[in-house]
């Protein structure tokens, strides 16, 4: 009894929120250049780190005369956000900053992202354009099962859905039985969550004797972790919904940097706000459209925290040609892998180096360790196996238990998610060429 997408005529009608998606290319490029010049000027005036890097290259904002001139500008990396923690990259007076979100950095230190009122408006507008592109509108009932809080997922999707005029159910993450009850009782028509969590919901519904196909839900907007087309087919077949891939990262704005339209042929980047480039991650050279490389994004009109040429570490390519949907926005391929060792567990970014930081903090030395990722009932599980070294070992079981508790506490604090810690015998973690393999990912996508 899945309702079809309202009426077919509605699909052809452009949702008012989506109008910028169809700007004529020449106009879009002109707008991008104006905004690029303004944001570079803003960062140059207010962000010490950016200015010093420009100075090193003998550059000033006036050197940006065309969009191609972006290639001269220095990159911004995640480590820059960590090193300037908390407010070193903020380009607005603090009293203009109305929101802070926190994401994980490459070591124990988190990174902070800041928004002015206008930044939040931009975020809301792009999140709304994502949902509109997925065929959602006023009248839809949208359940948000991303975590609400410091993580950008929940609130980002929330305000977009609200601005769209939809009815929003801010369920946040977890409590699958309740999620399904809400979906059923409220007649939820669309769900925003991670794809793995939706798989879990499908299974939970089954165990409750419910077939997702019998519920009114017709669309899922899934992101915050990589997933494949085969997972999409599986979800669509099991639940009868249409599954969309949404892309975003806190450093740029949060969810809403890009999203699939109903063609499902790549993700449109909201280029009027985020300028995409693909570079060779080794050389930093810009790649032509169609070539695979690391996605680099520049926020074209962010006030509180302009990101100039931010290296996302996500590997993709800019798809050549235009989308059948008629949007002029360029598209990227779905993200399948990264150029660093970041792993995504339940939508949370985790670096093995964070685990090292926590282990070091407890023991003062770094034992061999291994991260094992599995997926149980659609939920990611992370186990950290730690070899018991001579330095850690004691003949007293109570001391080992307290070591275990200390490791648990340190990892929970640094990672922000619950992990299972296993103390294992020395020399039992397999090593290749003398080096332990740090991450074993047994999750099937």
């Amino acid at each position: 009894m899945n309702s079809t997408m309202e009426s077919e005529s509605n699909v052809a009608t452009i949702h008012p929120a989506s109008e910028p998606d169809y700007l004529p290319v020449a106009e879009l490029r002109k707008l991008q250049l104006q905004r690029l010049q303004a944001v570079v000027t803003r960062a140059w005036q207010h962000v010490k780190l950016f200015r010093s890097r420009m100075d090193e290259r003998g550059l000033s904002p006036e050197d940006v005369r065309s969009l191609d001139d972006i290639q001269k500008l220095p990159f911004t990396k995640k480590v820059d956000l960590r090193d300037t923690y908390p407010f070193g990259l903020i380009a607005s007076p603090m009293e203009d900053v109305v929101r802070l979100h926190v994401s994980s950095g490459t070591t124990g230190k988190p990174i902070v992202v800041a928004y002015t009122k206008q930044d939040l408006d931009v975020w809301t507008s792009v999140a709304m354009r994502c949902l509109a592109g997925c065929g959602l509108h006023r009248g839809d009932i949208i359940q948000i099962a991303y975590g609400y809080g410091l993580f950008t997922g929940g609130l980002g999707a929330h305000y977009g859905a609200e601005a769209l005029g939809a009815t929003v159910v801010p369920a946040s993450a977890g409590k699958a039985d309740r999620q399904i009850m809400l979906m059923k009782d409220f007649g939820v028509t669309a769900m925003c969550c991670t794809p793995s969590y939706f798989l879990h919901l499908i299974e939970c519904a089954e165990s409750m004797g419910l077939d997702m196909k019998d519920l009114p839900i017709r669309a899922g907007i899934f992101g915050a972790e990589p997933w494949t087309d085969s997972m999409r087919k599986h979800i669509e077949k099991k639940s009868g919904i249409e599954a969309f891939d949404i892309y975003g990262l806190s450093e740029i704005i949060g969810p809403g940097v890009g999203c699939e339209c109903r063609q499902h042929d790549g993700l449109h980047i909201f280029e009027d706000h985020f300028y995409p480039e693909v570079i060779d991650p080794e050389t930093g050279e810009t790649q032509p459209d169609g070539s695979e490389g690391e996605l680099v994004l520049t926020t074209l009109n962010k006030q509180a925290m302009p990101m100039i040429r931010y290296r996302t570490r996500d590997i993709t390519r800019i798809l050549p040609g235009v989308c059948a949907c008629g949007r002029t926005l360029r598209r990227i391929d779905r993200i399948g892998r990264r150029s660093d060792d970041m792993i995504i567990v339940r939508g949370i970014n985790i670096f093995p180096s964070q685990v090292e930081t926590a282990l070091l903090a407890v023991e003062g030395t770094l034992p061999h360790y291994q991260i094992v990722l599995t997926r149980e009932h659609g939920l990611d599980k992370m186990e950290v196996r730690v070899e018991v070294t001579a330095q850690m070992f004691t003949d007293k079981i109570g001391a080992l238990q307290s070591l275990h508790d200390k490791l648990q506490g340190a990892l929970d604090r640094v990672l922000g998610i619950r992990v299972r810690i296993s103390l294992v015998e020395a020399n039992t973690i397999e090593r290749s060429e003398g080096k332990a393999k740090r991450v074993i990912d047994r999750r099937s996508l």
Binding site: A390, K396, I397, V424
Partner: protein, 143 residues
């Protein structure tokens, strides 16, 4: 008075006790006493062996993390009240016991208690002052 005890970290999985025991057997080391302190996930295997240096070397050569600790052995007459007498004497000393285990000596009418104290030297002094008989490692390991 001090007895050298060998301790090993092991995972709580099938076969993880047998493996070190087999290694010791192959090295000709006799296991006089064995005790396991464990949780659901892992455990500590404690051994008193005929040749602790050989045992340590053998196990370390096979990748085990081995710790050698000083413990004390107390003989208890194998009769009702024998244990209570010793524990009563211990109570009076105020010594801090990390852990203990017991085994009975099949050759005689005595049971042997192994104690791991927080401060072994202080324990020796207090126990001797209280008239408790401590075994030497020679006595403990005699055939």
């Amino acid at each position: 008075m001090k007895i050298h005890q060998i301790s090993l970290f092991i995972e709580n999985k099938p076969g993880h006790i047998a493996a070190p025991a087999r290694l010791l057997a192959e090295a000709g080391v006799d296991i006089r006493a064995l005790y396991l302190a464990d949780t659901q996930q892992y455990g500590i295997l404690l051994f008193i062996v005929s040749d602790w240096e050989k045992a340590e070397k053998t196990l370390e050569a096979h990748g085990y993390v081995v710790k050698v600790t000083d413990v004390l052995a107390i003989i208890v007459t194998d009769r009702p009240g024998g244990l209570a007498d010793v524990l009563g004497a211990l109570d009076g000393t105020g010594l801090n016991i990390e852990y203990m285990y017991a085994f009975s000596d099949v050759r005689g009418d005595e049971a042997i208690l192994i104690f791991r104290f927080a401060d072994t030297d202080a324990a020796i002094a207090s126990l001797q002052a209280a008239g408790v008989k401590l075994m030497t490692s020679k006595e403990l390991l005699k055939n």
